[in-house]
Symmetry: C2
Subunit: 168 residues, 2 copies
DNA sequence: ACATTACCATACTGTCCCGTTTGGTAAGTG
DNA sequence: CACTTACCAAACGGGACAGTATGGTAATGT
């Protein structure tokens, strides 16, 4: 808090006038950063859109302080009940966003439960590597995740990956 | 620390005589608890063995303080470099154990990279729910994870799940 | 019997950090 | 000008926690 106020050139007073507690601030911060740095890609191909989305998530977690913040919240949620609920609510928001992308990939026939499972299959390994094992995540890994989606539409996807240039 | 000493009926003095710092204690604790509460199941059926293994992981994280400890370490690893390396090493150990179980499921033909990916597919969703989304994990969910293994041997597994009684 | 050692329990120190309070400053309003 | 409002900065209070120090107790060794 002190550091946030200092680096923001703002009084802690002002922070607490805008947000009721540290938890609400963090929750707002997570949603804001996520929406800004990992938005819904404006791409027509469903799989490619999902790929870019995942790529942005990885970039956000590895190239900025977001990953460290996230890890810190995980630890704090273990002891702080309010923080835990705020954290879970954040993930619920993010999941609905990602669910739209996934549904475009697997088709509208999938049930909510199926969509949820697919989300776990896509996001789980990513955050498992980011937060726990520490193994690196490259584009090929992300693409394999998408290709391996169990409920993918039957058409065999071409394994070719988009070049770095296309991402921008 | 105070709580550990108190619940253990031991003086904090003694704790610090046996372990140099809190970090070393926690590291020892992780390996010990994992090996003790999530061992390699002595079951002949590979999928069932993997199922029990995952079930023990979930139980360890939800029914004891292990989950909270784990989350705390995640947070601390974000700022403590030594803790991060020790943490990653812990996961490497655990992965090799789980890799043996997975290899029994998918057959000896799988490469190390494939095994690694499968491990991510199995463990990722579990820890994603445990640490991040907070969604509950029941036996059906675990079984679906195993059934969905992309490199499973061709035989279609029967969806029937083992009863609670068989677990002991 | 005496010294040493191991040990539990508790108190203590230093640190960190959330949230509040206070003092001082500048802008806007009547 | 008087008054309110918003704001930064710093200090403060309180609680949590890691690690150390101290006192007392029991066992062991000589």
């Amino acid at each position: 808090m002190d550091e946030i106020a200092r680096t923001a050139g703002v009084g802690k007073d002002t922070l607490y006038r805008r947000w009721k507690s540290k938890e609400t601030l963090v929750q707002h911060l997570l949603s804001e950063l996520s929406a800004e740095n990992a938005p819904i890609p404006d791409v027509e191909d469903p799989r490619y859109a999902l790929f870019i989305f995942l790529q942005n998530i990885v970039r956000l977690n590895t190239r900025s302080d977001f990953g460290a913040i996230l890890a810190g919240i995980v630890g704090e949620s273990a002891r702080n009940r309010e923080m835990a609920t705020a954290f879970h609510q954040f993930w619920a928001e993010r999941r609905t966003i990602a669910a739209g992308l996934v549904r475009r990939v697997v088709g509208p026939g999938a049930s909510d439960r199926e969509i949820g499972q697919i989300l776990d299959h896509v996001l789980g390994p990513i955050y498992y590597r980011l937060l726990l094992s520490g193994d690196p995540i490259d584009d090929e890994y992300l693409w394999d995740l998408i290709v391996a989606l169990p409920w993918s539409t039957g058409e065999t996807p071409d394994q070719e990956q988009p070049t770095e240039k296309e991402l921008k």
